[in-house]
Amino acid sequence: MVRSLILVLFASVQCALTVTVEGQLSSKFAHMDVEAYSSVEVQLDNGYKGFVQSNGAFAVHNVKPGSYILKVLSQKLTYHSVRVDINAQGKIRYRRLNLLTLKEVEPINVMDLQPIEQTQWFQKREQFNVLDTLKSPMVLIMILPMVVLFLLPKLMDMQDPELKKEMEEQMKTMNKGGNVPDMSELMSSFFGGEQPKRAPKKGVKQN
């Protein structure tokens, strides 16, 4: 009887046991002004939460034994989440959160909780950049033939009479097949529309 009474008492004491989870955010990335942590909160499951002081310290009070996920809610930075295990004696264990398994124990230092990165909430606006324009496929399609047209002939030695001859022959054979219209001619006929001009031009060529 007495023993069971003691057990009951012990159990009730255990039920009332609560602990304070304390920690400190690392000052990495955070500028050390007073406002740096002005809206940063620390959240545990079941509505437990704490506020971060100007020096980065935080405390979550009256936490009952159990296993919790500790999250730092910051407007600017992303922090590692921490798995907080509190046993019935009020002993606290901190480890890196791994949602896939409960067994893995990778300790994490909550007295110097490191941010991972600055949170990228927003998309970046595309800005006009010459390099980006050059990289675009349309521009590449336009530029490559230009290179072939203008640069390649210059690279070749035009003084060599044999090569010159060969080229001329090649040109002749090519011109035979397709009648490629002259660009400026095409444009002027398109917009000018004065057809009769074509005849004298041909005459000139024949001359």
Binding site: T20, D45, K49, I69, S81, F122, S188, G192
Partner: protein, 908 residues
């Protein structure tokens, strides 16, 4: 690595640009019903006012315009008991004795101080000269600990030999009086020295115990109180003598919060059955009196018969009168300060209808400077309405003749020219618009894309609000006390034309209230039909095709266990009756946890129950839901890599029931069950069971799929399950869904781990259903996340097949992460999101959403597939025009050059 090859899939996800913040979204901060307030009484020009509300929110608001500087939801395990504003810091003292020092404007936590936390806070007092706060706690031995909070020093703890009940300070004598009782229940006083907190011997005031419930401190050092026998007595703290006061012997002492003798009023007042008397027994004006003891002196406020307040300033010289609407004022706070050699008063009043008033009063003028609507902290119903279209759009375009069309186009062109000339005249053409770039007019008419809406809100205390979705302004507010604590419902009145008057039904303690509301103006009429009174399950409306009045009501009632009765309010014509008799109904009774389905007979006024689905008593139903009525399905099947099509199960009548076990401690006995029923036959088409899981469980249903979340008690994490229903490969050619001949669907199901605790689930909608769906997840950490549904595809495989990429299925990964650019509420901490409401817009790509939390509303819009039907807002019209003009110019230049070249050639 595997994910990288699937990245092109998400190129369409459109997050917000930083410069768009506040243009398409807004947040309406609500604080709740104030319990404590504190002014900076030492600083005449202080702009901030500290507030603590019943919703457990600590906030600082601007005295200038009532805007919120900052607000913090306090942890659930603690309540703020004392609030001070001293030395340009807001100091909150929570249960357990946790003191926090906040910056009034930025909300930065300067310091947090706490003791052992296992004891209970009894009373606190503030020392004005040293900016010290003294609190008494009860400890395990039955005596009190005294905690001294000092702004720049560490916490000082000392023990008292008595159980303290009240702390009174006397800074002139350098003493703190601790009043309380000994172990023998004698009423005693112990004095502490302010400098070193050393104690003086305990002085017995009375042998019998005294409870100080109503008490007031008087500046001559007396503590006046009403004892348990309703007699007024006083203790002289300086010599410890106790006397009865005969003049106001049977009156209740009017209390005030001052605990410093120096600043206490020089007399006390008693409330004698609605009559206010002064210490000498003199009857004062007013039926209610509030006393505020400030650093400058005592301010009194008395309520007159016309609900107006008369304020008497320090030295009883200046009076001002104020009135705070028609409602009863629940609580009042004031600050008195001198400005330009004149006394000014600031008054904060909270009235019963949920309005917070802030008034400035001086001998010359007294005005209410601003008001805040705090009843929005407890919302019972929200609906988003389209605005009325302009006249031209009211007509059906298919009926237009050619000349009519030309006329309308001309009219539109004319109005555009008019707008343009107006802008040119006022010089606002080049001004950058601050508001939504896609909404052309801020008037309350439907805009081109139907993005501008009207939010209709019913609060739990019976207030109705109409809120403009563009400016977040409250357009109208109506108080309908009849709708207090009611389950409100807006009756669907589907019609091709816009109507601004709607009908709402309130189910108030099993009594039906029927109202007609004009959502544009807020005018409201109660329809006094004969209303049914007991056990109402559901109310529906039927509009007769002939009459234009209020629609008739179908009231489903619980008659007996498992039996549903029907009552009809109003007239139903035969055409409507015929239609309604062919419709199947389902209803849910939350008391007996049962679903009923069946048809109704108008003539005999009966409900013919065809099926019942009873949830066992060992389970607790978390949610019963169906797909939204506006849900449109665009494609009937899903093409597979082998060029066949997997047909979707297109049952429009799926009802989802999510239930959890009532077990709270034994992990092995916990479970969460999801049932999917056919609404016509009551057949269970699919059910799933998750062991070792518990609530909070949420579910959302759309098209041929459902997503639900629950807490995995074994693994200590939130999990999400996604279910999809398919019919198989054979193509049905039916144009209608036939519930009776439908075959059982194939259900594909997969579970994921969520990295966030989920408090609400919703789904995006669009006009045609072409846009991909995104699941809107409201989290405990105060975010609204828009998660594209591809992530929740149950066909994601751990080992991807070669065909998966072609079908756009990602490889399975157990953990669902929510990248920051999926968060619609970006860096705002909204507080736990209770619900997300979705409204369709005129743009296929876009829907608008309203997030509801206990501490406010959040409005924004979502593009689940990107903004494919609208130009990006950074589209550069100028650049395009310059290039176009440049090209035309260049062409003409070419022509001239070509001509010149040709002439030159001819001349050669």
């Amino acid at each position: 690595m595997r994910l990288i090859s699937f990245l092109p899939l998400f190129g369409l996800i459109s997050a917000l640009y930083q410069d768009q913040v506040g243009k398409v979204d807004w947040k309406l901060d609500v604080l709740g019903f104030p319990k404590l307030a504190a002014f900076d009484d030492a600083n005449a020009q202080a702009d901030a006012i500290a507030l603590y509300t019943e919703q457990n929110i600590l906030a600082s608001v601007s005295a200038e315009d009532g805007s919120v500087f900052w607000k913090r939801t306090m942890p659930v395990s603690e309540k703020v008991e004392y609030l001070y504003y001293a030395n340009k810091l807001i100091i909150s003292i929570s249960s357990g004795g946790i003191a926090r020092y906040w910056n009034p404007e930025s909300g930065a936590l300067f310091k947090e101080v706490y003791g052992t936390l296992q004891s209970q806070l009894i009373d606190c007092a503030r020392l004005y000269s040293k900016s010290i706060i003294i609190c008494a706690m009860s400890n395990e031995s039955g005596m009190s600990d005294v905690l001294v909070y000092r702004e720049r020093k560490t916490l000082f703890e000392t023990k008292s030999s008595i159980l303290v009940e009240k702390i009174i300070t006397n800074e002139e004598n350098n003493l703190i009086y601790l009043l309380g009782k000994t172990a023998e229940n004698a009423f005693v006083m112990e004095a502490l020295n302010i400098d070193d907190f050393s104690t003086e011997p305990v002085q017995i005031l009375s042998e019998e115990s005294i409870i100080l419930r109503e008490f007031a401190l008087v500046s001559d050092g007396r503590l006046v109180f009403t004892d348990t026998k309703a007699k007024t007595r006083s203790i002289n703290l300086k010599d410890g003598t106790m006397t009865d006061i005969s003049a106001v012997a049977t009156c209740q002492v009017i209390t005030h919060s001052q605990k410093e003798i120096k600043f206490a009023p020089d007399q006390f007042f008693g409330n004698c059955g609605g009559i206010v008397r002064s210490e000498s027994g003199e009857v004062l004006d007013g039926r209610r009196m509030e006393i505020f003891s400030t650093r400058l002196g005592t301010v009194t406020a008395s309520l007159d018969a016309q609900n107006g307040w008369t304020l008497t300033g320090v030295n009883a010289k200046k009076t001002a009168s104020l009135s705070f609407g028609g409602s009863l004022v629940q609580s009042l706070w004031t600050k008195s300060y001198n400005w330009k050699n004149k006394e000014h008063l600031q008054v904060l009043a909270f009235s019963e209808d949920g309005t917070l008033f802030f008034a400035k009063a001086s001998s010359e003028a007294s005005t209410v400077a601003w008001t805040r609507e705090e009843s929005l902290a407890a919302i019972s119903h929200v609906q988003i309405f389209d605005l009325p279209p302009e006249d031209a759009l009211l007509e059906d375009p298919s009926e237009w003749s050619f000349s009519r069309r030309v006329q309308i186009q001309l009219a539109l062109f004319h109005s555009y020219i008019n707008q343009l000339t107006d802008k040119l005249k006022s010089g606002s053409l080049s001004e950058k618009k601050n508001g939504d770039p896609l909404v052309s007019t801020s008037e309350l008419i439907r805009d081109q894309f139907n993005l501008h809406k009207l939010i209709f809100i019913v609060t739990k205390n019976g207030n109705l609000f109409g809120i403009d979705s563009l400016s977040k302004d409250i357009i109208w507010k109506r108080r309908v006390p009849e709708l207090k604590e009611c389950k409100t419902q807006v009756l669907k009145d589907a019609g091709p034309r816009f109507k601004s008057d709607i009908y709402i039904v309130g189910n108030c303690n099993n009594q039906v209230k029927y109202f007609n509301v004009d959502i544009m103006s807020g005018s409201i009429d109660e329809l006094n039909n004969e209303m049914p009174k007991s056990d109402i399950l559901r109310v529906d409306s039927i509009r007769s095709s002939t009459s234009s009045g209020a629609p008739a009501l179908l009231v489903f009632k619980k008659v007996d266990v498992g039996k549903v009765g029907l009552e009809i309010v109003g007239e139903i014509d035969t055409a409507a009756a015929d239609k309604i008799e062919r419709t199947s109904f389902w209803l849910y009774d939350s008391n007996s946890q049962a679903l009923f389905g069946g048809k109704i007979n108008i003539e005999s006024k009966t409900f013919k129950n065809t099926w019942t689905f009873q949830i066992p008593a060992s389970m607790k139903v978390s949610q019963v839901t169906a797909a939204p009525a506006s849900d449109v399905l665009h494609s009937q099947g899903r093409p597979l890599a082998d060029r066949s099509v997997m047909e979707k199960y297109l049952n429009p009548n799926i009802i989802a029931v999510l239930a959890e076990s009532k077990e709270e401690s034994d992990l092995e006995q916990m479970f969460v069950n999801a049932f999917f029923l056919d609404g016509i036959t009551g057949e269970v088409i699919h059910s799933c069971n998750h062991k070792r899981a518990q609530g909070p469980a949420k579910i959302v249903v759309a098209e041929n799929w459902a997503v639900f979340s629950y807490w995995s008690a074994k693994m200590y994490r939130t999990e999400v399950t996604s279910v999809e229903f398919y019919k198989g490969n054979d193509q049905g050619n039916a144009t209608h869904w036939d519930a009776l001949s439908a075959e059982m669907p194939v259900a594909i199901q997969k579970s994921f781990i969520s990295s966030e605790e989920i408090t609400s689930l919703a789904v995006t909608q669009s006009q045609m259903g072409i846009t991909n769906k995104a699941v809107l997840i409201g989290t405990k950490s105060g975010k609204i996340v828009s998660l594209p549904r591809v992530f929740l595809d149950p066909r994601r495989r751990l080992v991807p097949a070669s065909t998966d990429r072609e079908e756009g299925i990602m490889p399975y990964q157990p953990e669902l992460r929510f990248p920051p650019n999926f968060v619609l509420s970006y860096y705002q901490n909204l507080g736990p999101v209770n619900d997300v409401k979705v409204a369709i817009t005129g743009l296929e790509s876009t829907c608008t959403i309203l997030g509801l939390t206990d501490t406010g509303l959040f409005w924004t819009r979502v593009h689940p597939s990107g903004t494919f039907d609208v130009l990006k807002d950074d589209f550069d019209h100028m650049m395009i025009s310059v290039i176009l003009i440049g090209f035309v110019g260049a062409t003409y230049a070419c022509k001239i050059f070509a001509q010149m070249k040709m002439t030159n050639r001819l001349w050669q």
